[in-house]
């Protein structure tokens, strides 16, 4: 039985097991039909031309991993960012871990999707927002069909949340192969501000495939800073589907740091539904071996006077492959749009590949849109300059690569997080130097 059939038959069991209000139930039933119709994407789909899921889909994944894996704090301590006081929503093999988490209902809701889906007091929010941003593409649909657990964050009006929220998904490898489908819903009401850090971490070398969906709603003048740390093991793959709907004057940024993992596909979609909206999409990818990272972005400018800023940097070694497909749509009504897009890449091996494709669809006539992609190597004259000052080749290269990524890093607003990422980069480049002086 292939994975699609397995998922379709599992859905019947899943649907019978869950008690859920009819709205969500209907959404799920529609979603599974959609997935059944569309199936997994193949290279024939334009949006998947450079990323093949074939090999990944051959694994015999456990769709409902065994429950209750006792994970102690000391086992996973190093994956937390400690030096900041934060809320934590922690999952182990797709199940919520209450003793690792730190949730709240005190003035804001930082809790579980399962609770929100089942309790009447959340019904209104669920009916207003659940699955209202996600598309009906095959993988988001698959997630929607099985949506049960994940993070639920609701920030009421006028709240500035000082503590960042960490969402971490651990997989313990107690199944030979695991498929996870976390579902996050984040609603940030008017004039509120929140910072969220998300990561996925496998703790063994057993294969993991995560197909995640995150819906973010930023209301009028809301500010959301979202950071994705993708530093998983070489056997873990991630398909991240993130959908963001922004209202008037809201400011949302998503930073994606991709260092680990076997195959990562980021489908990041911004919809600007108001005037004077600001959207930022930035990423640093540093990979080697046979790793594959694909950034597929969409910014949909619907209303006038909005901005979007995209800046993706990639460094590819060994036989690694990168894909960047950045689509910007500017509707006819969206006059005075400022849309910028940059994708810069460095190939440090002859066998590494980058496929980069900007895609601009502009229907308005009074806009400023720019895009640029570059593919290059490290500057030899800069390397010699650094080496002539006593910096060895490896360190000189690392410093240059760090500098190359610095534009993206510099806009990370949580210093402790920036420090953590800097350390991961130093580790990734195999050097022991402090970049951030």
């Amino acid at each position: 039985m292939d994975l699609k059939e397995k998922l379709l038959s599992s859905f019947l069991v899943f649907e019978n097991q869950t008690e859920i209000d009819s709205y969500v139930s209907d959404v799920r039933n529609d979603a599974i039909k959609m997935f059944e119709k569309k199936g997994f994407p193949t290279k024939k789909d334009e949006a998947w031309k450079y990323t093949s899921l074939n090999k990944l889909l051959k694994e015999d994944y456990s769709v409902f991993p065994k429950q209750e894996n006792a994970l102690e704090y000391r086992d996973v301590e190093k994956y937390f960012i400690h030096d900041i006081d934060s809320y934590k929503i922690i999952f182990v093999d797709g199940k919520y871990s209450s003793h690792l988490s730190e949730t709240t209902h005190d003035g804001l809701d930082v809790c579980l999707m399962s609770a929100a889906l089942n309790k009447p007091k959340y019904r209104l929010v669920i009916e207003n927002y659940f699955n209202k941003a996600a598309t009906t593409d095959s993988l988001p649909s698959l997630n929607t069909a099985f949506s049960k657990e994940g993070a639920y964050i609701h920030i009421p009006k006028g709240k500035i949340i000082e503590k960042p929220i960490q969402i971490i998904h651990f997989s313990t490898g107690n199944e030979s192969a695991t498929m996870l489908q976390p579902r996050n819903l984040i609603v940030v009401e008017e004039n509120s501000h929140v910072q969220i850090i998300e990561c996925h971490q496998s703790l063994t070398s057993n294969p993991v495939l995560t197909n995640s969906v995150t819906e973010i709603f930023a209301k009028k003048r809301a500010i959301v800073d979202y950071y994705k740390i993708q530093n998983d093991t070489q056997e873990a793959s991630l398909i991240d589907n993130t959908f963001i709907k922004q209202k008037q004057e809201s400011i949302v940024s998503v930073h994606t740091f991709s260092f680990g993992g076997k195959l990562i596909r980021n489908n990041l979609n911004f919809y600007q539904e108001g005037e004077r909206i600001d959207s930022t999409l930035k990423g640093v990818t540093i990979i080697g071996n046979k790793q594959h990272v694909d950034h597929n972005t969409l910014v949909h400018h619907i209303e006038p006077n909005c901005e979007s800023h995209q800046d993706y940097k990639g460094i590819f070694g060994d036989s690694a492959t990168g894909v960047f497909n950045g689509k910007v749509v500017v509707e006819k009504e969206a006059q005075k749009t400022n849309a910028f897009q940059a994708n810069n890449n460095i190939l440090i091996s002859d066998k590494a590949t980058i496929n980069t494709k900007p895609q601009l669809e502009i229907f308005a006539d009074d806009v400023k849109c720019s895009h640029g992609c570059t593919v290059g190597q490290l500057d030899e004259s800069a390397l010699f300059y650094m080496r002539s000052r006593g910096i060895p080749e490896k360190e000189a290269k690392a410093l240059l690569m760090y500098a190359f990524s610095n534009n993206v890093l510099s806009s990370v607003k949580i210093p402790e997080l920036k420090h953590r990422i800097t350390k991961i980069i130093a580790n990734q480049l195999g050097v022991n130097i402090g970049f951030d002086l």
């Binding site: 650094m386 002539s388 910096i391 080749e393 190359f404 002086l437």
Partner: protein, 250 residues
Amino acid sequence: MLKIENLHAGVEDKSILKGINLEVKAGEVHAIMGPNGSGKSTLSSVIAGKEEYEVSEGHIIFEGEDIEELEADERAHKGIFMSFQYPVEIPGVSVTNFIKTAINETRKAKGLEDMPAKDMLKLIREKSDLLEIDRKFLSRSLNEGFSGGEKKRNEIFQMAMLEPKLAILDETDSGLDIDALRIVANGVNKLKSKNNAVIVITHYQRLLDYIVPDYVHVLHNGKIVKSGSKELAHELEEKGYDWIKEEVGA
């Protein structure tokens, strides 16, 4: 300190240096002058260890050791420093971070611990004052958007921080106005001691009014064709290089 014997070097098939002999002792200042294309910059690059130059014959001996096989960073660790004619812009790396990394990597190569942050700061303050460098300047990206004078001052600042045994100043005077030239030269003079040596590579005599050489060598067509005292520099300034070319029959 430095002994160059019958050095032949070039790029790919093109031979540029055709038998250089030069000896520099501790405490000395040597000036190497010559017309454009005579091989001045090649000579400094070859001593510093730039890979694209191929040494086909001869030796470069630094403190008794043949350094030909050493990488540029290993030569730097031994105490060789070259001030670049065209310092490279490196966006995203601050002057401070760069020099800190350079110092600590050099210490690491010598088996020493990193310099404590406090000492580093003190040293940076001291040396930037010496070169009359504004502190704000130190947090800027290395050489990015620097004026010609700022770049050269920054080179000498790095030299001051690294305290090399042998400093090669490659056309340090080009692109400098008279004030910057004075500051740079003053910096070099303050760093000079009986234990280190300086090679000044220049087209013009101007810098040598400030950094007074013990010896002046004239490089022409890949060879040192004439050596003398500082008076030779004045003579070149007055008469140009043509008389030398005639003298050596080139």
